[in-house]
Structures are given as structure tokens and as C-alpha cells.
Symmetry: C2
Subunit: 410 residues, 2 copies
């Protein structure tokens, strides 16, 4: 019974704070994370993290990445163009390098910690920016399309970096192994994007003809678990497999409203456990230490500046203003950064220690939350002229325009 | 990683055997239970029951009963008429009495075991019969409507009996307590059916106006967990709360396709864990004992005869043939009987022992599976004239006619 009560508290508080944050026009995800902080062992102590909440959190993040993958059509990525690729690549390299250098050479942390901080700074949360742009009626503006395309690509690059970081953390620096992991991850991603997606589109009608109820959804579930297990077997994170499973199905399932509705049900049910679990693991005590607060502020500043510089550089030929729009638009971090922190917190390294400690976990979480809150007002200012030219619409009207994923995550 | 692999095996084998059973025109649920027997510790040993599989199984049965409740509209129950009530009531009393008497006075078991066997014999699995009748194009025949109405009512009566049985098992025979449990269960059910459903229908538009994503589905989740916890607090099974939550929402959610689709996603994902977990707990060794095999056969025979006699008596004024149609139509047992067995297997009684042992669990499971397999051919024979008169359609065409729940469970 205690278990059911735990689950009840988690869902109720997650959704209560999500609703409050939505009304304050802030991202619901942050509300759900704060719900975890609130009910967790460091504040109210209503719910303690357990094997059970941990399992549901793990399933939650697997379904979250599966859903993100489902919205990532390989063909669409190939169409985003060189500009978005350049923006994404520079927007990955600069933050990773800066995060690594900060932790390794200034803070004096070890190699594993430095890699995790770098990896956590990589991936943009496309949901936040997309919601703001949708609120301004600018989702189809040229810079908006570059931002959305680049954000999807840096999700993928972020997951590839995570695969390599995880490999190095658990086996030490072994160049052969590192090369193998990188090669496997890249090869697997390309294989799924090019061949898997096409194959699934071809066999989709056959799956629909199975006699079991909801065959396509069930097939998706099985593929998701199969690739998650396969990813763990080759040593990369399960979520990467879940993402690839989603991406492989994205085109075949494009018009399958039942699959999307059913997946959404599971995601809505399980993702709060992931977000609340994140919050429950945040030890608020760490912020009594001034050096941690300072670090959190510095990392947040670096997170914003490095995307501004990296992505801006990639788009500089479009002029300063557009480069700034793109840079700030790419600044919010979200799910993937938090996932990286979460994996770091529980991963046992080759030295037998945890990859990152409570303090660095708290710093990364602070950064993810802060960039998400800080960026939107700046995005609105930088896009004000375009919005005025188009005759802007209210943010409340954005719901219908947004694809499911964006309104979901944002 | 072992956990993900377990979940993968469970889903794959459940759906593989479900598909095979569908192709053999047998109920998919039985395939999923047998998948558990196959991969469980007593045969292949691929997956062992654990806290984790147990939790997912528990969530699965909660969502299963929530879904059953969602298809049970209080207003529709009030309309089924006296005939269906009489059929349901006699179809509950006779099997319970026979099961109790067999275990208590002939086998010589204790009071708790006897009550559990009686309770497991109570509830009809409407899905099986409905599928057969739909295949014959007779879902709207007068006797079919009595069967469907009575089956819904005996689900409810079965859950009320379970509440009382559970109470007596854990606290001993204490008439005050027994009366309290019975009163609470009945009162709560009536309250939810009459007042809760109406209140929810009135506040539904307000729920829809919440800012969080999928507000109605989230509200349903919260209500489901809240009533499950409340049910446990007052000492009845959590599934009863889940069922009542579904029933309270049934009218308000009638045309809410999103809610149904999302609930279906969670149910399709989690119910296989419940069914496979049931199968995994079946110790095949018990059937080496001839007395257990004999008992299984006798209980199956009693299960069929008592519904034939009880329900038939209630419908005798319609003539022998129709009474027989109704009696055989009510014979298949399913989910609720299995849920009762499952609760009995894990419940610790006031005497500190388990309510039922591996042998009685196996006997009940055998009965549930056997009645489901045996009844359909007889139903077809008894309805052959009506079907011929209407020009019967193929069973394969039934899918579209059936409400979600029926095709789901059947």
C-alpha cells in the first residue's frame, strides 16, 4: 500500500506544480522537478526514492526518449540543410569544450566529472524555444527552422557524446574501446536512420495485419525495449536505444494517431516519475556551500554564452541579429542534460566511485532549470521585430500549432 | 539491465502467444498467461518473479480494472432491468455457495480457503461471450443483452464479495467488522455510481480547461490512484478503488477518445505483466498430484454447472432454451476470478498463513482457463438458430462492432 501511496503523491504533486508553472507561463517540466524537490527526502520527506520509484523513473526516461525519437524523422533531418548542421555542430563542440575545461582545469575535477559536465551542456531543449516562437507565431520563420533543425541534431550528437563518455567512465581511457563505442553508436544511428526507418515503413502494413490488439503500438514497445537492451549490451545508455527505436518508427508511424495517442498515455503516466525522481535526488544542502552556488552560476553563464558563441558562429553569415536569435534560441537545456546528470549520478566508474557527486548533479540541474527560465524573455526581445511584422498572436493560442512533442516537453 | 531484459522477455512472449492464440481463435489472455508459465521459473526459467515484475503486475491489474470500470456506465446498469439483476444475483449466490461448500465440507479446507474459492467462482468474463456473440452477429439479441448486463453486475458483486472475504481473512470472523466492510463497500459503490459519476460529468469541462497536457487523462490517473489507496485504507482491495474510479468517469469520459486511447496505451503496456506474472506463479508440479487434477476438473465442472443452474433459474420464465443460452453464456470466468486467486496467494491471513496455497491457486487458474475454452463452442451451438435466422457473419468481422473493452479482454 505504501507503494501506491508513493505513486499517488508523486503524480498529484507533479501535476499540481506543473499546473501552477503553466499558469505562470513557465515550463511544466520545471514544476514537476520542483515537485520532486518538495516531496523528496530533503524537504517534506513525503516520498523517499526507492527501487520502485527508480524503476518507474527509468521507464519514464526510456519512454520520454522514445517519444522524442518518434518526432524525429530521419528524412526531415537530412532536409534541414548545411546551416543547421553547422549550427548544431559548433553548438555542441563549444559548450562541451568549455564545460570540460572548467571542471578539469579550473575546478580541478577528474576526467570523468569533466566529461559529464561537458556532455550535460551539449543538448538544447527544443521544446522551450519552440513554445516561445509558436507563441509569437514565428515557428516557420527561417531562423526558427534552423533552430528547430539544429536542436534535433544536437539531441543526437548529445546522445552520441553520452555513449562515449559512459564508455570512458566505466572502462577508463582505452582508445580502441572509445573508437569502438563511437563507431558503434554512429554506425547504429546511421543504420537506423537510413535502413531501419525505410524497412519499417515497408513492413508496417504487415504489422497492422497481426491479430493482437493494437499491433503497431505493441510492435513499437517491443522495438523500444529490444533496442534499449541492445544499447546496454554494447555499453551505451538504454535511452539511446529507445530514441533510435522511436526514430526508426517516426516515418512509418507518422499518420498513426492510435500509436501516438497510446504512446502519449504511457509517457504522460511515466515521465512524471522521471522528473520527480530527479528532484528527489537534489540534495539542497549543497547550496549552503558558497562555492557550489558560485559554480552553479558560472556553469549557467557558460551554458548560455557557449551556445550563443558556438551557434552564433555557425550562423554569422546571416548577420549579427539572426546569429544572436539562433544562439539564444539554442540556449535552453532540458531533458537530455538532466538525463546525462542522472546517469552520471548513478554510474559506477572504473575507479569504483560515482561518476559525478551530489554537488555536480545539483549544479547541472540548476543550469538546466536556469537556462530554461532565462532564455525565453531574451528570445521574445530578439524576435520582437519579426513578431510585430507578422502581427503576433497570444501565447495561449499556441497549443494547436505545436506538434505534440513540443507542447508536451515544453 | 537485467530488469530491461526481463521486461523485454515478458512483452515479447506475452504477445507472441497472444498472437498464436488469436490465430487459433482462442482468447489472447490465455496465451499471455501461458507465456508466463512458459518463461517462468517452473519451465524455461527465463524470468523470475521479482519485486519489479510484481509492481508492474500490480499496476497492470489496477489499470485493467480501471479500464473495466470505464466501460461500466452507472446509468446503463440501472437500465439493464430486473431480469439481468436476478440472473446476476443467482449467478453469484449459487457458485459462491457451491465453491465454499466443496472446499469447506468435502475437501475439508479452512474457512478462508473456502471463501476464496467461492469468490473466485463468482464473476463472469463478459469479454469471451461477447466476442462469440459478436461473431454470430447477435450482440443485440434479447438474451445477449441480459448476459452482458448481468455480467457487468456480477463483476461488481464479485468485487464486493472479495472485499468481505479479504476482511474476514485478515481479521477473522468479526461480525461488526464484516458488516462494516460490507456496508462501506456497498455504500461506496452506490455513492460513486450515483453521486460521483454525476458530479464528475458536471466538473468535466473545468478539468478540460486546466493548462497541463492531457488534463482529463491525468485527472483519471489521479482519481484511480486516490481511490485505490482509499480502498486499501478501508481494508478492501486496491482494484476495487480502481474499478470505481473508472466507473465514476465512465459517463463523463464517454466521448473522450483521447482519454480512452491514452488509457488503452497504459493498459496494453501493463496488463501483460499482470497476466504473465499470474502464469509465472503457477507451480506446474502441483498437477503431478492426482488429487489436484481431480479437484481442478471438479471445480471446473462446478463452475459451469452453477452458472447454468443459477443464471438459468433466474431466466427460467423465458423458456428452457433461453435459460440455457444465458447460463452457458455466463460460464466463462476470467480476469476477476484470477485476480481473486492472485490476492489470495499473497494475502497473509489473521492466522499468519497465506489465504490460499499453490495448489488451490493452480486449481482456480485451471478453472478460469478451462471455462473460457469450453464455453464458446456451446454458446455457438445454443445460439445457432438465432444466428442462422439473422444470416451470421464471420468471427473476423466482429472487431468493429465490439466496444474497446470487449475486444481487449476477449
Amino acid at each position: 500500500m505504501e507503494i501506491l501511496l508513493d505513486l499517488f503523491f508523486i503524480i498529484v504533486f507533479a501535476k499540481l506544480l506543473a499546473e501552477i508553472f503553466e499558469r505562470l507561463r513557465q515550463p511544466a517540466v520545471i514544476g514537476e522537478i520542483l515537485a520532486g524537490v518538495l516531496i523528496g527526502p530533503y524537504l517534506l520527506g513525503l516520498v523517499a526514492p526507492s527501487d520502485i520509484t527508480g524503476l518507474l523513473a527509468q521507464l519514464g526516461v526510456i519512454f520520454l526518449l522514445f517519444t522524442v525519437g518518434l518526432e524525429t524523422k530521419p528524412q526531415a533531418i537530412l532536409r534541414v540543410g548545411k546551416k543547421a548542421f553547422l549550427v548544431a555542430a559548433l553548438g555542441v563542440i563549444v559548450p562541451f569544450a568549455a564545460g570540460y575545461a572548467l571542471q578539469r582545469f579550473i575546478v580541478g575535477g577528474n576526467n570523468v566529472e569533466a566529461m559529464f559536465l561537458g556532455a550535460a551542456l551539449v543538448a538544447t531543449s527544443v521544446g522551450i524555444t519552440a513554445r516561445v516562437l509558436a507563441g509569437l507565431g514565428l515557428l516557420d520563420a527561417p531562423t526558427a527552422r534552423i533552430i528547430l533543425g539544429a536542436a534535433v541534431i544536437d539531441d543526437i550528437l548529445g546522445l552520441l557524446i553520452l555513449a562515449v563518455v559512459k564508455s570512458v567512465s566505466t572502462t577508463g581511457i582505452d582508445y580502441l574501446n572509445l573508437l569502438l563505442t563511437a563507431g558503434l553508436s554512429v554506425g547504429f544511428t546511421i543504420f537506423v536512420a537510413l535502413i531501419g526507418a525505410a524497412a519499417l515503413t515497408r513492413i508496417a502494413p504487415r504489422i497492422q495485419r497481426l491479430r493482437i490488439g493494437e499491433p503497431f503500438f505493441i510492435f513499437g514497445l517491443i522495438l523500444c525495449f529490444a533496442l534499449s537492451v541492445a544499447a546496454e549490451v554494447v555499453g551505451v545508455a538504454a535511452i539511446i536505444g529507445a530514441f533510435l527505436a522511436g526514430m526508426a518508427l517516426a516515418e512509418a508511424a507518422e499518420d498513426n494517431h492510435e500509436l501516438h495517442g497510446q504512446t502519449r498515455g504511457v509517457t504522460e503516466f511515466l515521465v512524471p516519475f522521471f522528473l520527480v525522481n530527479i528532484g528527489m535526488q537534489l540534495n539542497l544542502e549543497i547550496f549552503r556551500d558558497v562555492s557550489v552556488v558560485l559554480m552553479a552560476l558560472v556553469v549557467t553563464l557558460i551554458a548560455i554564452l557557449t551556445k550563443l558563441v558556438g551557434c552564433g558562429l555557425g550562423a554569422l553569415d546571416l548577420g549579427w541579429r539572426r546569429a544572436a536569435q539562433i544562439g539564444v534560441g539554442m540556449a535552453p537545456r532540458g531533458e537530455v542534460g538532466i538525463v546525462v546528470a542522472q546517469i552520471g549520478l548513478t554510474l559506477v566508474t572504473f575507479e569504483g566511485t560515482r561518476a559525478i557527486d551530489d554537488r555536480l548533479f545539483g549544479v547541472i540541474l540548476f543550469m538546466a532549470v536556469a537556462t530554461t527560465l532565462i532564455a525565453p524573455p531574451f528570445i521574445k526581445i530578439l524576435f520582437a521585430d519579426e513578431a510585430a511584422a507578422r502581427g503576433k498572436i497570444g501565447a495561449d493560442d499556441a497549443g494547436g500549432i505545436l506538434p505534440d512533442k513540443l507542447s508536451n516537453i515544453g
